[in-house]
Subunit: 197 residues, 2 copies
């Protein structure tokens, strides 16, 4: 049952069987049906979640009320609003299940208990945060300076399974273009692939 | 001499005098005159640096060869290319001193030695990374959806001292606008402030 989340952590630190048990004992498994929200703007984020199965996105509403998708997360990704979770401030973002989703969760208390009981999780979470910083930096650089087609190519590199799993609308709201434009990019890339064959 | 960097770390963990000594013994102080580079694209980043005095920026060249400023850092900020530093991959960014700058540096070996000798630094660096994630997320959200005037207001909130310290060109390359436009925004805000008095 906990196979994937143990595998995830073992990329960063080696756990003893006792430490694995402590970890597993602190996790709770939550289920969110498709289209439900794990977090809404204004709420305080009470979880850091590891996706066992499913797909979620984080988004916010811009000043005109349009949804802007910040990130997607699928199996084996962590998801939270780190600012709200750490500082207990109202979140500015929404986290929504795009498929039926099962997610292992730590709350602020269980996360702190984990760090106290198994200090090597400090290292594991530090290294995970570093990877997340790299993801965010790349997203930032691409958002500032890449044309939409290159942003789409980067998007499918980071999220190879997403185009088959979610509506084009969500991808458009991630790339900052219309859904018709996503459709145009996909057709153009498909034609290019045909020509190159 | 080490007062500021010890104060910085003590926001996250409490160090004993012995642990402070270990930390101080692993840091090297480097000096970079104004306009010199701490890192160039293509090089592997060998440092995580804490700014004792001065001001630096990270930037990259977009596909048209234009400089895009990602972040500024002044006294008491850390600066690195975390991707290159951790994965020993060639950096895509430049780090440049905008003033004469003095910086305490850890390299990959001294950082690892620090973690081994004083494991509570795992926690300190995890918490620092979390704060950095929040900074990056805010920068991302603002870049995607805020008009230039709001981006400027957010910029002076995060970097209150920068407008007095660096040329408008650098601020423009951070906001993704022309330097004439930065000048227009500043005048408009100054007039607005006068009217409201």
């Amino acid at each position: 049952m906990f196979q994937n989340i143990i595998k995830n952590i073992s990329r960063f630190v080696i756990l003893t069987p006792e430490e694995e048990n402590i970890y597993e004992g602190l996790l709770t498994l939550q289920k969110y049906p498709k289209k439900t929200h794990l977090l809404r703007a204004g709420e305080i984020c009470q979880f850091e979640g590891f996706i066992k199965e499913g797909c979620v996105r984080t988004y916010y509403l811009d000043e005109n009320g349009f949804e802007v998708t910040l990130l997607f997360a699928v199996e084996d990704w962590w998801i939270t609003d780190i600012d709200s979770f750490n500082n207990k401030t109202p979140s500015k973002i929404f986290i929504e299940a795009l498929e039926d989703t099962e997610i292992y969760m730590l709350n602020p208390e269980t996360k702190e208990e984990l760090m106290q009981k198994v200090p090597k999780f400090e290292r594991a979470f530090r290294l995970m945060m570093q990877r997340y910083v790299v993801t965010l930096q790349n997203r930032l650089v691409n958002t500032i300076s890449q044309p939409a087609t290159d942003r789409y190519l980067e998007f499918i590199r980071v999220y190879p399974s997403i185009p088959q799993r979610v509506a084009q609308y969500y991808i458009a709201s991630y790339l900052g273009v219309s859904k018709e434009f996503v459709s145009t990019i996909r057709k153009r890339l498909a034609n290019k692939a045909k020509i190159e064959q």
